[in-house]
Assembly symmetry: none
Homo-oligomer: 150 residues x 2
């Protein structure tokens, strides 16, 4: 049970799981029989370079130093996975995707033929979705989750 083994385990756990706090990671480690205190964990994370960011849906999550994530992440299995973020601005919905994926995702939205969505325009990695008049943001988002659920 040495330090190097522990560091490797920590990196593995962070790579393969969504972890929101050091306490949570600690409990996960205990599950594998490897244990230490939160103080040591804090030092280990700094050593490895793991830092905390946002998980994209209101929570927190630890991340490996950039470049160490899973290569597979950058090859989305489905169009849905290509979406990297959405923002409302000026009554329009901006959908950000991985480079090159915007047209594919936009086509899928268009084909759904939802009334709430007046139309879309796709660039390379950004889609502009124009809702119809008097349609709420929530209604549009609900549309999208219907379209992309599965």
């Amino acid at each position: 049970m040495n330090r190097a083994t522990r560091l490797a385990l920590i990196e593995k756990l962070v790579r393969e799981n969504v972890i929101g706090s050091q306490e949570e990671l600690l409990r996960m480690m205990e599950g594998t029989g490897m244990k230490c205190t939160q103080a040591t964990l804090s030092r280990d994370l700094r050593q490895i370079g793991i830092s905390r960011g946002f998980d994209g849906s209101g929570g927190y999550r630890y991340f490996l130093p950039s470049g160490r994530e899973e290569a597979a992440d950058s090859l989305p299995g489905s169009d849905t996975a290509a979406i990297t973020g959405i923002t409302w601005a000026r009554g329009l919905l901006l959908i950000k995707t991985l480079p090159g994926f915007a047209p594919a995702v936009a086509i899928r939205i268009d084909r759904a033929g939802r009334y709430e969505i007046a139309g879309t325009v796709a660039g390379d990695d950004t889609i502009l979705l124009i809702p119809r008049d008097n349609i709420s943001n929530e209604a549009v988002e609900e549309c999208l989750s219907t379209i992309f659920q599965s």
Copy 2:
């Protein structure tokens, strides 16, 4: 002194300085006359996506979401010359370029990662730029002149 202005200032300060804690950033903001509490700052940082990492020499530092750090080092300034006109319409900015140059110019704008700009969609010779809500036309134009100066 509204929220959007504060968020833009925060992004600017984080982009241009090495900041290690929210208190430190707070003091920096006070220096510009813009002030709020640390609690609000915590919420703002989440909103913008700024998170804390390591500075490479034992300390901490806040970082912009990846891709937003240093704008446009390697991008030729010549794209600027491709812009043939800009017009505001419906709260959106239409940027006209020479044929074929719209994607290149749009990429440059995107890479700058300015908070004020929610996103862009590029055709062949036209870019649609969507500002965030509550951002003035002037602020967006100032952004652009910053992005394209050099």
